[in-house]
Subunit: 393 residues, 2 copies
């Protein structure tokens, strides 16, 4: 799946608008445009305190058709009262003017400080003057960064019988982190020709298994946004088996971006993957996986390289999932630490080698059924506390 | 409500059985006995990975009648396979022999390391030799401590028309902490004459509003137990208004013990109380209160004395409770930091004074209804991470 050509029919541009404090020291506005109308689907934060750009974009997505995405970093346009929505619409209008389309065909996204009015005039001016070119996706990835330490992007191609389709993903970090909260933004563009209804289904399914299965600190931002645009510029329309193949590639792109986001969380020194097996229902598996990844006691144990099966099992046990402790088992890497209701003698060297890995695999068998789920989490470090306690409003 | 006489008809005793490692260096077994049968009710951990003593005590409580409680620290008898239940029953039998009652009239509770077989012979021997005397409740509170830094107990008396009834509470700390997990144990004894059905109702209600509303690290232990015993030795049977008064006193005792447990959590430097107002439903209020107290970002902000309304509001917003952000408000102590959808200018000195208090009051109005709830939480400190990461199994 190496990239030879990029997604066809898309152009991008960035600008330094000085969103944060009026000083244009870094790029902080990006525009993504398609030369034709795209089938589009999205998933937004479930937080009841939802930011204005999410409200506006959700409305624009009702038709399932977009021409572009207008995004800024430096200011989240969240908790900004009634003017927030007005400003988000103004951003969409400026982008529509630049692209040459209807404002309802533009999605907007913002990330950065909350509770501060958006400097919308500066953003509009920058957007109107942006130069659009194909292929500069790393510029987009950089412009949307806030506390991320590296840009997150990836491109894959999928050869199908009628030709090759391309999928491009760009994202920025999760975790409601310094200064007030950061946001997960992820945009996926493809030149495959896909119906809106199918795309909506794929996006819901993929986000549930990827972006919704990661956690840095258990908090959900007010601005989280995933958008997927399919413009059909490849002339290839996957159907039947090939549509399933396309859905898998789409999920793979989401998973890669999601794991990059986890690994780049602030104060993160270790990442772990929890695989649940033997659950009675898929919902039980999902719950158990996510409860283990968000448990403070598991996260501190991971930080201390402690194979603490007691905390892992207890987290699964309180998740609401059914657990049969006499048939449950816990494995850290290849090392079985708990089986058949009792702890196993510990091979400390083998465990130590697992904790030295880039991503620590933890498998918990609940011992009651056949359903599975995965989730990804991060350790809880003194550094995390320091970063999040030191900021003063 | 000062204490002049203690609960009538109860005697207690403690012993040093060397539960942890065979060395009897501290008291680690306690027996609570009533001279007559008590109406009894309890609440146990909802963790699916439930410890053997909880399973056995739940069974013994089905009749709603107990004569005593046999408890040990140093070993939780959790994740100990099939022999765990056998050992818990053996504890009950030894206590029944000492008290002179049926084993089904004894509740057992254990707290300490998990995954290690209970040294039940040592405990049985100690229980059989225990001397029972009235009034030595602080000995009981000390014997059940694990990582607690101080014993937790309190006694209140309630003068009623037909005479005075007494309520005595003893508890140990929450938080699944070093070495593997600690446990919340709380025992409340009264000499009031109360029907089992009423007592069960009061206990469920009180625990929901007190012990279930506290969180040190969001994890639920495998051994959590609350037991309430009413032996009627005062000869006073509260009815009507006086029964409601008794229920209030019972809840007050539970709330005091619960707040002491929070304040004594390991690595805790600050405690905060979250009051939710303006919720649409009681369930919404409850959820919002607990989500704010368990948010890592709120907990680190509290640690850093940061009046971070953004994190508080976002935690309430992701709890599932309905929030109208244009009518929501956040108050820290007396200082309104967010109102009518927008942040307020900050009086830093006033806020600093609030953060210097022993318990920091935070009030969040969700702006949609009239329901309220409270919950208590702790800050997240570097010390907490250090304590919980340093332990190696």
């Amino acid at each position: 799946m190496a990239m030879t050509h990029d997604v066809l029919g898309f152009t991008v541009g960035t600008a330094a608008a000085g969103v944060r404090d009026g000083t244009p020291s870094r790029t902080d506005v990006a525009l993504i445009a398609s030369d034709r109308i795209c089938a589009a689907a999205g998933v937004f934060t479930t937080n009841q305190v939802i930011a204005a750009p999410c409200v506006v974009t959700r409305r624009h997505l009702e038709q399932g058709r977009l021409r572009g995405i207008d995004v800024n970093s430096g200011n989240a346009n969240a908790c900004t009262g009634e003017q927030g929505e007005r400003h988000a619409v103004m951003m969409a209008r400026a982008a529509a003017q630049r692209i040459g389309c209807d404002p309802y065909e533009v999605a907007v996204a913002s990330t950065g400080v909350i509770g501060v009015p958006l400097p919308v005039e500066r953003i509009m001016k920058a957007v109107k003057g942006i130069g659009l070119r194909p292929g500069e996706w790393s510029d987009v990835a950089k412009a949307i960064m806030t506390t991320d330490t590296k840009p997150k992007l990836l491109g894959v191609e999928l050869p199908l019988r009628a030709g090759t389709v391309h999928v491009r993903g760009v994202a920025k970090g999760a975790g409601m982190i310094h200064p007030n909260m950061a946001t997960m933004l992820a945009f996926v563009m493809t030149d495959a020709d896909v119906e809106v209804s199918a795309l909506r289904h794929f996006v819901r399914h993929a986000s549930e298994r990827t972006f919704n299965a990661i956690s840095v600190d258990g908090d959900t931002s007010t601005n989280d946004t995933l958008l997927v645009l399919a413009n059909g510029a490849s002339g290839v329309k996957p159907e039947g088996d090939e549509l399933a193949q396309f859905a898998n590639v789409l999920e793979g792109v989401c998973e890669t971006l999601a794991r990059e986001i986890v690994a780049d969380g602030e104060g993160v020194t270790k990442v772990f993957e929890v695989s649940i097996r033997g659950a009675e229902t898929a919902e039980d598996a999902r719950r158990a996986a996510r409860t283990v990844t968000t448990s403070s006691l598991v996260k501190t144990a991971i930080h201390g390289s402690d194979p603490n099966w007691g905390r892992i099992l207890a987290a699964a046990g309180r998740s609401g999932a059914k657990v049969d402790q006499t048939h449950a088992s816990v494995r850290i890497g290849e090392v079985v630490v708990f089986a058949a209701g009792a702890p196993r003698p510990l091979d400390r060297d083998a465990v130590r080698r697992v904790f030295d890995r880039k991503e620590i695999p933890i498998e918990v068998d609940l011992g009651v059924g056949a359903e599975t789920a995965r989730a990804w989490g991060t350790d809880l470090s003194e550094e995390y506390v320091r970063i999040n306690a030191d900021y003063t409003t």
